[in-house]
């Protein structure tokens, strides 16, 4: 009798904690919804302002859900003398070349550091890794002087060349290649495959997910980069989107805030679409870096 009642009491206590746990779960969800509203509202303001008449741009309270649909604000971005299409094109050129360049240079170096044996390998890898501590801003003055000597200031090349390599990318891909079974490489060797074949035929085809992670991280960083264009570029024709948007801001002034928000919306849209499609790779990329970094 005594034991069953004690068990009953225990079970009741357990039920109580479970019920209490459900309560905390519900509270957590409520708090998260509140926070989610804070995260989303600036974007909603941006979008609804982009569709308002300029006269209503500062209307308070604002319409969070657009009630007017003045799509002509979007047309105004293209009709203004600020070359928005050119900005987008420049961003696309710079970003795609940098992504492709990094995939090539990083995957080659990463494979060598992971799977090939050569004297000085560990020392060279350590030297490369140490550079992760050096922020690009610290070296910007000498790099600017180099670009000036090469006559590349105010050209897209100034934005592309320094970004064709990445110590971080080598590190990320090396982690992946280290995980490839050595047996695969040995088997290829027995079949007479040299280092190039091992890399191109065995390692690369298996590295899809890791390459996707690096491509996405690099895409995001380059597409959004503001600092380098700010330093190297001074004519509209050579600007990329983030710098171009701030030019648009100055040029349209607060009078055309609706058109400005239309421009920002269009600049953000590709990232949103891309993210929704490729979310898995984005998250994998961040997670890889975090856990293994």
């Amino acid at each position: 009798m005594a034991t069953t009642s004690r068990l009953d009491a225990q079970a009741a206590a357990e039920r109580r904690t479970v019920r209490y746990d459900r309560l905390i779960d519900a509270a957590a969800i409520a708090v998260l919804f509140l926070g989610a509203a804070v995260m989303v509202l600036p974007f909603m303001w941006m979008f609804s302002t982009s569709l308002r008449l300029t006269a209503d741009a500062f209307k308070l309270p604002p319409d969070w859900i657009p009630r007017q649909w003045h799509w002509e604000n979007y047309a105004a971005v293209f009709q203004s003398s600020v070359p928005f299409v050119r900005f987008a094109l420049n961003s696309s050129i710079v970003t795609s070349l940098v992504v492709v360049g990094q995939l090539v240079t990083c995957s080659m170096a990463a494979f060598a550091f992971a799977k090939l044996r050569f004297p000085g390998r560990n020392l060279l890898f350590f030297v490369l890794l140490a550079s992760l501590m050096v922020p690009g801003q610290v070296t910007i003055i000498p790099v600017f002087i180099i670009m000036r000597q090469l006559g590349l200031v105010d050209s897209l090349a100034a934005l592309i060349l320094p970004s064709l390599i990445s110590a971080f990318g080598v590190f990320l891909l090396r982690q992946f290649f280290l995980g490839l079974p050595q047996d695969l490489i040995e088997a290829a060797k027995i079949d007479g495959a040299g280092p190039f074949m091992q890399f191109a035929r065995i390692a690369l085809p298996l590295a899809g997910p890791a390459l996707a992670s690096l491509a996405i991280i690099t895409f995001n960083g380059t597409w959004n980069n503001y600092f380098n264009p700010y330093i190297f570029i001074n004519t509209w024709e050579k600007m990329t989107l983030p710098l171009g948007i701030t030019v648009l801001r100055g040029y349209l002034n607060s009078g055309s805030i609706a058109a400005l928000m239309a421009g920002v919306t269009m600049a953000i849209l590709p990232m949103l679409v891309f993210f929704l499609i490729a979310q898995r790779w984005f998250i994998q990329g961040v997670t890889h870096t975090g856990i293994k970094g």
Binding site: R22, W45, S131, T139, I141, I146, L243
Partner: protein
């Protein structure tokens, strides 16, 4: 001897194969190291060299010894921008990592997968939006008379705040936007860290009668400490280089009240053309980053727990 004689040809074959492999190795890392030499290592040494000169990019650099560094001490504006940068860094790191941790712990609780997916997406999305765009949007939200934030604060009886044009509020405004923009990154890394903690640890502790707080304090936190360490390091190095958001929101104003170190360096280098002096400042930033990182790693030994 006889046996090794038989092995000799194959050993030579092995040697050439090893040579080939080493050669391939060097070839594979060559592109990376060319870029590394030209755009990273070379410029570091060049920056150190330049910091010992006076150079306006028109006439040849003139060697001036350590006088740029001596000048740093009496540069009042430099002290101000250092102070701003440190204030920003301390609060941005604490809030970004702290809020990220809280969000991750909340999202990691029991809830329908759809909700988890939704929250993760919503909190992470601003990470992907350029800081420059975020700042263009927030600049309007922060306006004193026409801004949405002051409008809603008005309902709580709070008089309009000059977010971007008063010395008191400009740094909080910049930090707040930074947390909105970046905390999702740290949340995501924490989520991955939380999912790596074996569930059995919690069950064992519960059997021993551990309460909720004890579970968090004695299992979650220690198991998460490498992730916390990583996040603090990443947040700190990023925050010390803050530039885009301030450039767009306030351009350093009012006065120098929100000017960051990197903004000051670019002003000195690319507006005043004092390349030598600007280089000396950037070398101090580099030194600060290296020293802080080393301190972090040293201190990490006492509180970071690795399996």
């Amino acid at each position: 001897m006889a046996a090794s004689g038989a092995a000799r040809p194959s050993r030579r074959l092995l040697a050439t194969e090893r040579h080939r492999e080493a050669l391939a190795g060097y070839l594979f890392i060559l592109p990376t190291f060319i870029g590394y030499a030209v755009f990273i290592i070379g410029p570091i040494f060049a920056a150190i060299g330049l910091s010992l000169t006076r150079y306006d990019m028109l006439s040849a650099p003139e060697f001036v010894g350590l006088s740029n560094y001596a000048e740093l001490w009496s540069d009042r504006r430099l002290w101000a921008v250092y102070r701003n940068t440190i204030v920003f860094t301390v609060f941005a790191v604490l809030l970004n990592v702290g809020v990220g941790l809280v969000l991750a712990v909340l999202i990691n609780r029991h809830m329908p997968p759809v909700l988890k997916y939704f929250f993760r997406t919503v909190y992470f999305f601003p990470v992907l939006v350029a800081l420059a765009y975020s700042a263009v949007i927030w600049q309007f939200l922060y306006q004193k008379d026409t801004g949405v934030i002051n409008y809603y604060l008005g309902f709580a009886g709070i008089a309009p705040i000059g977010w971007l044009n008063t010395r008191t509020w400009v740094m909080p405004a910049i930090i707040l936007m930074d947390v909105w923009k970046n905390t999702g990154f740290f949340m995501l890394v924490f989520l991955a860290g939380l999912q790596n903690i074996p569930q059995s640890y919690y069950e064992a502790a519960k059997l021993d009668g551990a309460g909720r707080w004890q579970l968090f304090r004695f299992i979650t936190l220690p198991m998460l400490s490498p992730t916390i360490f990583f996040n603090i390091t990443v947040a700190m190095i990023g925050a010390l280089q803050v530039f885009d958001s301030i450039r767009v929101l306030t351009d350093g104003g009012p006065g120098d009240a929100s000017r960051s170190l990197i903004m000051y360096i670019t002003e000195m280098a690319f507006q005043n053309f004092e390349m030598g002096y600007a280089s000396a400042i950037s070398i101090t930033l580099f030194a600060v980053i290296v020293v802080l990182t080393l301190i972090q790693f040293r201190m990490g030994r006492y509180w970071v727990y690795y399996d």
